[in-house]
Subunit: 358 residues, 2 copies
């Protein structure tokens, strides 16, 4: 669920096309919903959420198409790319319910908005329950509709056959990653492998590798192309998540737009936390255990935690890991059997995404 800065050369046009597909799809659903006397808020929430975002996954999907030799951006490829964005809306809505987040992309989250909307005549607890239930169902609809967008994309039987198993894998992978994330939160351990596994499933595969694979499969990619995409995507995706972990702790809230204490208060099982616990002396370990995941963490305690994360060497080790992965990804591109334009896109993405400050 990591947000990354993107700047592919022709990305503005593609973003506009993806937005047009999503709006057209939701307009159709709005018409159907009105006939069924369904509350308009269902569509409005999805329209607002799907209207935003950096469109990273759609951009990667089209880059995968081009990497496998596809030319231009045919309508069907754009529609598949848009289906990934609807799937992402599903992920965000359920994620926000699970974390009970208050805001997303500068607006109230879906469950908060609907708790307010349906709050009249209900007590606080009942309103929160209705808000969460509505958000679970709107997320379910977004998941179902991401399938519908894919099914109606106008693919050939061969394309559908190639893409469906990859979409199925992507769904399971991000859900597995989230499951590990949710069940380990609040009690980080020294297990760096487990933390990397979470990063791989919930970010590297979901955000980078599978969108590339899906686009490539539409162009009938060979196994060699799929492997070369993975060789690039997995290190770069892990590096994204590692950068995100650092920004969540050391970032400037004015730049990241994210309350800087949230990550520490949640006490997610990150590589940063695992390395710090490994390297801490007795006093440091005691402080990490007491403060990581403390819901009442204040600014002073957070400042102390940052000192410990730095003093143990965990922070600089994570920077090293990002550097290693960036080098690995760029080397994979050197050897990749993609057309030069696709390689240039991916190289550009790597640079802008890993050096980001938000």
């Amino acid at each position: 669920m990591t947000a990354v800065a993107v700047g592919l050369p022709d990305s503005a046009a593609l973003r506009a096309e993806v937005t047009a597909v999503l709006e057209g799809f939701l307009d159709g659903k709005a018409g159907g919903a009105a006939k069924l006397r369904m509350p308009a808020e269902v569509i409005e929430c999805l329209r607002d959420l799907a209207g935003g975002g950096k469109r990273l996954r759609p951009l990667l999907c089209v880059t995968g198409w081009q990497a496998a030799g596809g030319s231009g951006t045919p309508e069907a490829v754009v529609r598949v790319a848009a289906s990934l964005e609807m799937f992402h809306a599903f992920c965000l809505i359920h994620d926000d319910v699970m974390d009970d987040s208050g805001s997303r992309r500068g607006s109230p989250t879906v469950h908060r908005r609907l708790a307010l909307h349906h709050g009249q005549g209900r007590g606080t607890v009942a309103a929160e329950r209705v808000g969460a239930s509505c958000a679970i169902l709107i997320g379910d609809l977004a998941l179902a509709w991401s399938g519908e967008l894919l099914h109606a994309a106008g693919l050939t039987p061969a394309q559908l056959d190639a893409v469906l198993p990859l979409v199925d894998d992507m769904r399971s992978e991000v859900m597995y990653g989230q499951y590990l994330d949710v069940t380990t939160a609040g009690r980080p351990t020294t297990d760096v492998d487990q933390a990397l596994r979470i990063a791989r499933y919930k970010t590297a595969k979901y955000t980078i590798e599978r969108p590339l694979h899906i686009g490539a499969a539409l162009a009938g990619a060979t196994p060699a192309v799929h492997e070369a995409l993975s060789a690039y995507a997995l290190p770069v995706g892990e590096a994204f998540q590692l950068r995100d972990d650092l920004l969540g702790v050391f970032g400037t809230p004015e730049v990241t737009g994210k309350p800087v204490l949230d990550d520490l208060r949640e006490g997610k099982h990150t590589v940063l936390a695992a390395l710090a616990l490994q390297r801490a002396d007795r006093n440091q370990r005691r402080d990490l255990r007491a403060l990581l995941g403390s819901p009442s963490l204040d600014e002073t305690e957070a400042a102390h935690l940052r000192e410990v994360l730095t003093a143990t060497g965990a922070r600089s080790e994570v920077e090293n890991m990002i550097h290693t992965r960036r080098t690995q990804a760029l080397r994979a591109l050197d050897a990749a059997p993609f057309p030069p334009a696709a390689i240039a896109h991916l190289r550009h993405l790597t640079g802008s995404a890993l050096a980001r400050t938000s």
Copy 2:
């Protein structure tokens, strides 16, 4: 989400086949999950849930196949039928989170089970939150995997093409129905049409019509067959839900296996409640408003509510509505262009399901 008694002639064999498909699928997932070091509980919860149930939707799917002239029960049809059962597991898991139900099919619900499983070292609130998050994610996986079972069922491109839009509609319909159900709960009104709409979407279409349509589409059904299936399915499905509403209020807990106060405490916007509110005098209306949806409702108050629901004539009017719909469904069968065996199956189902006591 209505449970109904079923007794199709050759149903035992089909139930066993569906169970075998689901077990085989989950065995495969368990192997994969172990390799990824995913907690075994994810698969175990689905195995336990998908192992139970009356298999109504799979039975109807195969009946739809036969109604449209399909013969026997080919492997691919059984696999599609099994995918409906995995989808149903998704519905039940999210439904139980939304209602915060404690038990399902005689066992703790998924979110309760996982709150306990992950509760060690966490406070009650944190454990409940983790349990709910895990259940949301396992429900998401069940939804994704229902798609995977369908995609890998071995259908021809023409079959896949015919079935995907129906599956997409089924998903949206039950989610819409649940959305109306959740947002109207606790404040029933006199709007009988709205209550019938909820029954139609969350039960009649989801439980009866779409499984029949999906099976029929696999056999290349004509529009006339689809229409004849709807003419049967919608009245019988509404009648199912109306019967369920009556059993939820007047049923014997020892027979229904359901705490008899739950429905009254939730104050769902049912046809029964809407009719009672329409027909109530001032005192009765006051009591209905005060007691329907009261979380602290006791046995004495429940007994009074039952008296009011009976005295207003709402109870007998719902019985009339069930009778009318049963007659309508049976007449639709008289005119239906199905093979005699399929008609006999559907006739048998109508009788046993609408006369049920649990």
